[in-house]
């Protein structure tokens, strides 16, 4: 049978609108409605707006009283559609569906497993108590796509889609002269074998971590509508996997490691990431991500933030460029550092100052 009772929902009046306050109902239960009629007045962040109906019918029930503020999408009223010829008569009010659809029950463990394995709960059938989704249901659903590469793609997809859906990214870039760092490194590495050599990546990681000390709003997680500054700095390092995909395990307390220690940790992380032997804390503790695609030959990386983090720093390749030093054009090794940041947590002004601090730190590599 055709559904004859429709929910009239709080409309989204602009992409940034999350909620509205119902100022006044202009129709009462029993009133006949024509498509285009103004049914209520809603107060939004951008002022009072009249809202209209898109259905012919009769207002059968008001669900949200005047004065209440509700999120976008909340059912405000029930409208009984006029039956077209041949359609069944209106459903009696007593049988009208309840305004809120019953929420799928998911056990806490099942919810956690689904998040870890990138399983979409909407596709899982619940067989636990009361039809709830249990851990076994999630495992069964995850098992149907056993291929780890597929699973990883799905997890990356879920995180990145969420990031682009929810995080208002802004981007700032700075070209940094890596001359001092390159010279200092070649001096430092002169008597070292390949396994002990310090790499530029570790120097960049340390510079980012030290700069973050002064920019807590970038070393934060966005949790339930607010940025929460993290007490420690655990820089996540994006590592490409051989079978495709990537992980970004955290280098714990990045800012407090000396460069040799950092280099050892980075080598160990890369090795364990590729063997699939990362620890769960490394996967969940990152407070910012650094991604470097310089070895792939790109000039700059404008990355996607990994929620709940609020910032990501991308480094391109270090290339010899014509550079103006003291009024003369000179070849210098230049890298482009790009900050992707969550505009809810910080603004471009601070983002720019942060990159400037990273640049400044990289001019004195011996102090890192």
């Amino acid at each position: 049978m055709t559904e004859l009772v429709e929910q009239f929902r709080m409309p989204s009046l602009g992409a940034d609108m999350q909620a509205g306050r119902l100022v006044q109902w202009l129709k009462a239960p029993g009133d006949r409605l024509r498509r285009g009629d103004i049914i209520a007045e809603v107060d939004t962040d951008k002022g009072a707006i009249e809202i209209e109906v898109f259905t012919d019918g009769v207002l059968s029930e008001i669900l949200v009283p005047e004065g209440e503020r509700v999120p976008v999408g909340t059912a405000l009223a029930l409208i009984r559609r006029e039956p077209a010829e041949g359609e069944a008569p209106p459903t009696p009010a007593a049988e009208a569906p309840s305004a809120a659809a019953p929420r799928q029950r998911v056990s806490p463990l099942a919810r956690r497993l689904a998040a870890e394995r990138g399983v979409d709960l909407a596709r899982v059938k619940g067989t636990g108590p009361g039809g709830s989704i249990s851990a076994a249901d999630v495992e069964a659903a995850a098992g149907t796509a056993e291929d780890p590469a597929v699973r990883m793609r799905r997890a990356i997809g879920a995180a990145m889609a969420r990031s682009k859906r929810e995080i208002p990214h802004y981007y700032v870039s700075t070209a940094i002269d890596m001359g001092p760092a390159v010279e200092w490194l070649s001096e430092r590495n002169r008597d070292r074998g390949p396994a002990e050599r310090l790499l530029l990546g570790a120097v960049q990681l340390k510079a980012v971590a030290l700069a973050l000390r002064e920019f807590p709003e970038l070393n934060s997680w966005w949790v339930e509508g607010a940025a929460v500054a993290k007490p420690a700095i655990h820089v996540g390092m994006a590592i490409a996997m051989r079978q495709g995909g990537l992980v970004a395990p955290a280098v714990h307390d990045t800012d407090r490691r000396d460069l040799d220690e950092l280099m050892r940790m980075v080598r160990d992380l890369v090795d364990r990431a590729r063997r699939g032997a990362l620890r769960s804390s490394e996967l969940s503790d990152g407070t910012i991500t650094v991604t470097s695609l310089g070895e792939r030959g790109v000039d700059a990386v404008t990355g996607v933030i990994y929620p709940p983090q609020v910032a990501l720093v991308g480094f391109g390749r270090v290339a010899q460029r014509p550079w103006v030093v003291d009024g003369r054009i000179t070849p210098r090794p230049i890298v482009t550092a790009t900050l992707s940041a969550d505009h809810r947590a910080s603004d471009g002004h601070r983002g720019g100052l942060f990159l400037a601090r990273v640049e400044q730190l990289l001019q004195e590599p011996g102090k890192l």
């Binding site: 806490p108 636990g128 108590p129 249990s134 851990a135």
Partner: protein
């Protein structure tokens, strides 16, 4: 050695009277009558009226006297006939025994052991059948124990006597006749840890005291349906051994608390809240409670049975936590 729960408690009392001259027994009918549940039978003859003392029918008086003796350096073991009657001594236990150490700035301590019977199932009606362990488990300053096995019946008392603070020991009255084997050298046991009485992987049944036997029987029945239930005996009701509880539920992901007390404001609720606080993200089903019906325990046999947790209701409650088959 074949023995009963009653004999195991008696052996613990005799051992304490023999080895420590500060220990004496006191309570209603503990001497000439041999104890309402015959626990102290024969001890008056063995140790004399100085050490096995019949008290007048006034719980407040003889529990208060026990507190005084403990303050004076003795190690009294006071028997209150049932927890129902102990309410007459609540003021002594809660306002004096539990607080004196604290209120004297540590100058005083009350090394008193109070034993009492608890629980229903023997058609003794509402005057004698309630399970009020949680009233005592609510009180900081006392330790609350519930021996459910012969080993604990034998071993909790000597350990309790070594503690400097008041201890309340609940003996479920239906356990006194329980028979079994007890090692000849059985003695003091540790008091801090809950015990896994049966290992399992599908759910943890948490219980104590008189319900342990029913829960073990239910676990055996569940095993026939291929449901593997872990059975955890709390042993100590205050403090709770939270670490063992949480570790078990992290393994099994489901918990059923079986408590002969009433549900409202009871111990099962406390255990359940602890699991919510500390194991929420490991739970695969809501924590379930199975308690006694919320009414004064009826006298009539079939009504009394219907009011209490039973093997079949425990089995059903456990099954409801698992996926439908």
């Amino acid at each position: 050695m074949k023995t009963t729960y009653r004999e195991a408690v008696r052996a613990a009392l005799r051992d304490a009277l023999e080895t420590d001259p500060r220990v004496f027994l006191m309570g209603e009918d503990v001497g000439r009558y041999g104890g309402a549940y015959a626990v102290s039978h024969g001890l008056l003859e063995e140790f004399g009226p100085e050490r096995v003392r019949d008290a007048p029918l006034s719980e407040s008086t003889f529990v208060g006297a026990g507190i005084g003796a403990a303050l004076g350096g003795m190690r009294p073991v006071v028997e209150v006939m049932t927890v129902n009657f102990s309410l007459l001594a609540l003021d002594q236990i809660v306002n004096n025994a539990a607080t004196l150490h604290h209120m004297s700035g540590g100058q005083l301590s009350v090394p008193l052991v109070i034993r009492m019977a608890t629980g229903a199932g023997r058609q003794l009606a509402a005057q004698h059948s309630h399970s009020l362990e949680c009233w005592y488990a609510h009180i900081p300053g006392i330790r609350v124990l519930a021996p459910a096995t012969l080993e604990d019946a034998r071993g909790m008392l000597p350990s309790a006597l070594r503690l400097p603070d008041p201890v309340v020991i609940f003996e479920h009255a239906s356990l006194y006749g329980m028979e079994g084997d007890l090692a000849d050298d059985a003695g003091a046991v540790e008091l801090d840890r809950a015990a896994v009485r049966r290992e399992g992987r599908d759910l943890t049944c948490i219980t104590y005291g008189g319900s342990l036997g029913k829960v073990l029987a239910a676990a055996a029945e569940l095993a026939r349906e291929d449901i593997s239930a872990e059975v955890l005996d709390l042993r100590s009701l205050r403090p709770l051994d939270v670490a063992t509880l949480v570790a078990s539920v992290r393994r099994t992901r489901r918990a059923l608390v079986v408590d002969e007390g009433w549900k409202t404001g009871g111990l099962a609720g406390e255990v359940s809240a602890v699991l919510m606080e500390q194991a929420f993200y490991d739970l695969d089903a809501p924590v379930a409670r199975l308690c006694t019906a919320e009414l004064p325990i009826p006298y009539a046999k079939q009504l009394e049975d219907a009011a209490l947790p039973r093997v079949e209701t425990i089995v059903a409650a456990a099954r409801a936590l698992l996926p439908a088959r």
